[in-house]
Symmetry: C2
Subunit: 345 residues, 2 copies
Amino acid sequence: MMALKKIGSQSMLFPSGAWIRGRGTVVGKKEGSGPLGSCFDIVLQDDMYGEKSWEKAESKMLKDAMMKAVQRAGLEKENIDVMLSGDLLNQLMSSSFMARDMHIPFLGLYGACSTMTESLVLGSILIDGGFAENVLAGASSHFCTAERQFRLPVEHGNQRPPSAQWTATAAGAVVISGQPPGPGIPRIRAEAATIGRVIDAGIKDANQMGAAMAPAAVDTLLNHLQDTGRGIDYYDLVVSGDLGFIGREIVMDLLVDAGLPSAKVRERYDDCGTMLYTKDQDVHSGGSGCGCSASVFAGHLLQRMEQGELKKVLLMSTGAMLSVISPLQGESIPGIAHAISLEVE
Amino acid sequence: MMALKKIGSQSMLFPSGAWIRGRGTVVGKKEGSGPLGSCFDIVLQDDMYGEKSWEKAESKMLKDAMMKAVQRAGLEKENIDVMLSGDLLNQLMSSSFMARDMHIPFLGLYGACSTMTESLVLGSILIDGGFAENVLAGASSHFCTAERQFRLPVEHGNQRPPSAQWTATAAGAVVISGQPPGPGIPRIRAEAATIGRVIDAGIKDANQMGAAMAPAAVDTLLNHLQDTGRGIDYYDLVVSGDLGFIGREIVMDLLVDAGLPSAKVRERYDDCGTMLYTKDQDVHSGGSGCGCSASVFAGHLLQRMEQGELKKVLLMSTGAMLSVISPLQGESIPGIAHAISLEVE
């Protein structure tokens, strides 16, 4: 019997060491023109990325983000034991074809837009438990693949309500390793995680994703803080995945309702979906998609941690687990959020 | 730094103990009329299961299989730390809504029909690594939900070629626990696993799934045997997920080509897709779907292990990672297979 690393009801610790050794990001033209544009490794000039379909473009973005992470870690593809990833496409089309090309043992994940954190949590478990020496964890999304699958043909030019969010054309990946990086390189490690429950607030409007997912983010965060005995100010930044401007406000209200101090919540909490674009980029309530938190985390947040601006970060990607047909069958939108705590040693 | 449990290039050991404590199965009417019918906990008389849609019926089947596993383990729902599952539906509709109703921390997986083994491998990792005390691992499929999503409207009554397989209406689940079962109960443990790579043999015919997945099964099995230093006769039974009659023959040919002794391969290897139905049930090349290996494993194989007929079993569910649109974009069908070794102590 192992020493138990489970803490509280939904959380776990990674005491043995799971270090972020490399990171890679590829984003579309619009994301490259946003406030974080300079953080990303590759900014596309054409969101087709030289491919014949948007789906193939997304798959190539994910592959290139993975390869960039491997390269930055100072490793070769052959050093990676397991690759974990997912995307929004039916049957994980982007990830599956990426995995075929990469030829690395592969575990496909689906957590809607929570997938980047699901990848990071399971990757850290594989490393901390000694089941692998190096893993790749990633996720991707593409505005055009998501729009045509979940909503309407892109060419239709449907008018979007103010609460709608913009699916990020973005891929992010990291190498998690059982060996810390060499001397002189900042040591960032995954330190704890909380696996989320599916929470359904009864919202049926697929243009209100932020509101649909916010209760799941709050549930996961409150359980994380309770399980670990921490306050929100333990973290320099608690960042949800893609709740956007509306969902972020709802989370702050709910956290204050739950008794967290309002000033600290406003100071410490933010959302990747509000960081990726400026409001004048016509994204309405902000960014969404697996690639939103994947690219903001791997491109921007890890960079800030490397530069010493952030020491302790809780990443909490958020997913709306609706299917294309579930609303047609009268179902509301179930939300989920997983959390992973990263710290600079 | 943990003691490394990784062995060889793709495999890992579970030395700390990950015991199968409970199992549950729910199958459709056709599966209940097959040769394994008496093994299953619940056999539906109507594949709608009292619901208003096939998707809701599949979700309910998965939930009931999960609950049956919890009950057989002598546990309560509240004792389960994490639930892992997946299905074939876009956005994991069956699993997502099951997880909403169960209200247990949830990790969604997509490995096409390899999902049951993916669930078991990740569940065993969570337990063996001490990250959880009890987990639920499951998977489901339903003939009618799969047909209408992947192929044609069920009412259309499309003629199927002889190589086509029949998606099982079935759900299977197990409880994996860090504590062995009490005295007098057979102790079955997950002992090792191999995570598969995506292998694409270039097949483009979506009615040739067995042939498309067979090379992935062979790749995973050969790597498993090499990583563990075992011969195929180490196992009483090596069982693939849903290759069906055609895929099973291909696997046997390829294994013999790779130098394994023909008599031992024929004696030790079988496929769940050839076990679930009789040939006169009009299933052509046999069963398929996540629920095929999930129900044959949780209903039939674990029962045989409990009864002492099998001591060492390698379960190797197989998945075809095509999407609904990838063949339309000219892609061939990528296959994947993961393996998990179970033994009676």
